[in-house]
Symmetry: C2
Subunit: 120 residues, 2 copies
């Protein structure tokens, strides 16, 4: 199964999902699947910003007793973004509409991350 | 109902909850309720770090089309932390064990935030 097929499957399973990407910690998407409604959201700009936050948390985790970061969920007025680490270099990012189901999104990313890891 | 009573109610309602605080954006807790098991986690250090992340996202939101930040959820190996904005100056932070229920935590913070806001 290709990256693209996994990403399409994530978007299809999660109510309100707009886009799902395999991303590097430089904020650049390796592969993305998005629905047409996602165009107006300027998702790439938001994802670069959110990637910076995830990087910062990963660095901070070294000095905290809370262990490494596994997942980050950012809810803003117009978008909920769930990010889950896949490997030290890559993570999955899923953008969901406010009326979507982030709980389902978190679950689907958790089961999809190991499948993506196998193909990296 | 005092802050303390609201915080105790949040911790009692969420499975695996370790501590709940009303916090300022300077990373200082206004009021906290925590269970004894939370002592070993060095939560205040982690919360200062996570507050920085929330502040950064709030600043970034001005330039993003995704709207203002409402909630941030950070899952690390040993701790899940849910933060929800109460006002421009304050937010609620809830620390939960990995085996706890962050979905319930998000729900309880969402209904508790307006009650806290009324008392600020």
């Amino acid at each position: 199964m290709s990256f693209q097929a996994h990403l399409e499957s994530v978007v299809a399973q999660v109510e309100g999902a707009l886009a799902c990407s395999v991303m590097g910690f430089d904020g650049i998407a390796v592969e993305t699947h998005q629905v047409p409604a996602a165009e107006a959201m300027e998702l790439p700009t938001a994802l670069v910003e959110f990637t910076n936050v995830l990087s910062q948390l990963r660095t901070a985790a070294d000095s905290l007793k809370t262990g490494g970061v596994e997942e980050l969920c950012i809810q803003t007025e117009k978008l909920t973004t769930v990010m889950r680490l896949v490997s030290p270099e890559y993570f999955l990012a899923l953008a969901i509409k406010p009326e979507g189901n982030p709980g389902k999104g978190r679950y689907v990313l958790r089961i999809t991350a190991p499948k993506i890891r196998l193909e990296l």
